[in-house]
Amino acid sequence: MFQHVVILPILLPLLAGALMVIPAVSRNMVLQRRLGTVASVLAVVLAVWLLVLVDHNGTQAYAVGEWKPPFGILLVADRLATLLLLLTSVLLLAVQLFASAGEDERGRFFQPLLMFQVMGIQGAFLTGDIFNLFVFFEVLLIASYALLIHGGGKAKTAASLHYVILNLAGSALFLFALGILYGTFGTLNMADMQANAALIQNDDLYLAKVGALLLLVVFGLKAAMLPLHFWLPKAYAAAPAPVAALFAIMTKIGIYSLWRVHSAIFGEHAGALANVALPWLWPMAWLTLALGVVAVLASQSLRALAANLVIVSVGSLLLMVANPAQSTTAAGLYYLVHSTLATALIFLIAGLIMGQRGKSEDRFVRGRPLAHPRLLGGLFFIAALALIGMPPFSGFIGKALMLSAALDEGVAGWIWPPLLLSSLAALLVLSRAGSSIFWRSRGRAVPVTIDTRQLAGIGVLLVALVLMVVLAGWLTAFTDRAAADLLAGMQLVLPEGR
Amino acid sequence: MNKALLPMPIHTAVLLLTWLLLNDFSIGHLLLGSLLAVLIPWLVAPLSDPQAPVRKPGKALVYALIVLWDILRSNIEVAILVMRPNRSLRPALLALPLDIQGDLPQALLASTISLTPGTVSMDFSEDRRWLYIHALHVTDEQALLRSIKERYEAPLKEIFAC
């Protein structure tokens, strides 16, 4: 039974989601929510279990259908994947709880879609097969399309249109890339592909290069790398609060894939294909960060700001990816986890704030005073500190790790200025935001209740952020090991005994 | 026959036959085909409106053969017509007064007319008493209408006793 723990993070949400679609369940909100909470808690437990297992016993592989790799689909749970699984399930728990307060009633199928979305994400993290990665990308994308329009409204529709169409084009490019890669490598298993990459010769080399570079576009689109980031601000700003919070992980999937594919398959060990994407990734990563800073400064509402901060974090992470080394990768990994949690937190808080400010919503203008100024102010303050990268929350550790890693790699001259300036910009704008939203008010507050489940959701993220600081020693050591694993490349791990 | 078990016996027969046409004949397929032939009508029965029953199956067979022959014959005629210059064509729009009633008989008549080259059923009048027909080349409209009524409508009327 224990060997199946690797596939459970995919099957559990699928099962929960499918059950929730059954009409008897889907019309019973209470049942649906309970099911969702149970599934989310189980997902966290599973992820912790898997993480501990992998950290102790090394990478775990699972051959679906027991077809030996590279022929069947192999799931590979290494440290990198399990950390991201844990992150995803924590996020799921937070979002599920938050949404259970009522957001999930503003349209049908919210809870199952949440589950399907997570299934796609977890699958993308776990799979060791590049076409299977495409399939899980599509699962998570279609679920995200459906979640984005939850609740309806003009802004959501307009944002969805861009998001969906651009991503459809991205999927087409993904398939082109897969065609090229299969057409040159003759295999789909990532580890097998990596093994073949070093051997590829002659003209096939250039074709394989095309495939690898196309994947850069595909993953860059997911990650919101410049100039592929245009979908992001609108989508994040329009999405319902819990959905936006869940979307915090979306860009990270792109980053993850870049690591998997461009740091591992086409990484150091890929012979003539080694680091093929880096010369392109470098400038685009830098520009992403730079533009992120500009966009942060230009933000006029809390959600737009949070979205632009996502671009900043993406830029920072891309710079880490563009300089593949153990220190940069480890730093990026820590920062990835942090920024996902912090972004999710600010989106959830923004959701609460929006609900209390009337027409001013979350814009940086004078508005109705909040019904819970102290609570929300305190939460906002915490989230802001985390986002800026100020102590005592994990942001500063992440920033410091990245700065330090950049220094180790000798690229501090390029990376430091935008990284530090991005913090400054965030500080300027977040302080402006907080002071406008919480202090500049007019009129009288309208009583609005905050559901305990909403607080519970936020609480999950807060606890996670605090744990990231308290357990930073262990976590950084873990990310270090994960980075080492990743850069060592993917081995064609045969599942035990089979 | 048990109506509940076999709601649409003709369908069942046709389905079984089709199944055997699709697959090679074997005991296994006979069993499987029978199963499907029972199961499917049972599933689709609610979606089928009741139709006039075939009173004279033998006549129906004869009718089918006549139509087949007509298709062969008129195909050649029309092929020649098509190859001739357009100006020699005398297309016409005809209205066929309908004697037969009922969806199925009327549908069969309309289909027959369309299948035999040279004529196409275009529409029923709203009161379903007329069938509009387009003919590719008509010299004697009355004759054409009469032949349709005699050759197709009358047998159909007999088959369905309507």
Binding site: - | V82, M83, N86, P91, L93, A110, V120, S125, R129, H134
Partner: protein, 118 residues
């Protein structure tokens, strides 16, 4: 070539020929309603002969009792008239002219006037 094969060849030729005639009709006939007659050639003689050829071929090669092609014919025979019917109906609705400048609805009335119901 055996006589059997000659027969198959003949069927193929006839099938192809009628398909082509149908297509020629589509190109050269003057209006939609006359063109509506063309697919009938293709569906009946054209496809019928080719399907028959295929069936006979299969029998010849001794691949069992494979007359699946009959099912296709069955389908086509059932559906082709309805397709034509629907297209014609649509054309009438859209008032696609029967003869240059004509209104098909007017013509329908005229057709009925010629022949009062018996």
């Amino acid at each position: 070539m055996t006589l059997y094969e000659w027969f198959i060849a003949a069927l193929l030729v006839i099938g192809g020929l009628f398909t082509l005639i149908g297509a020629l009709g589509m190109v050269k006939l003057p209006d939609l309603y006359t063109r509506l007659h063309a697919p009938t050639k293709a569906t009946t003689m054209g496809i019928g002969c080719i399907l028959l050829a295929s069936m006979l071929m299969r029998l010849d090669r001794n691949e069992g009792f494979g007359i699946q092609e009959l099912v296709i014919s069955l389908f086509l025979f059932i559906t082709a008239p309805v397709s034509a019917y629907m297209i014609a109906k649509a054309a009438m609705h859209l008032r696609v002219p029967l003869q240059p400048g004509s209104d098909p609805h007017r013509l329908l009335e005229k057709a009925r006037d010629q022949q009062p119901p018996q």
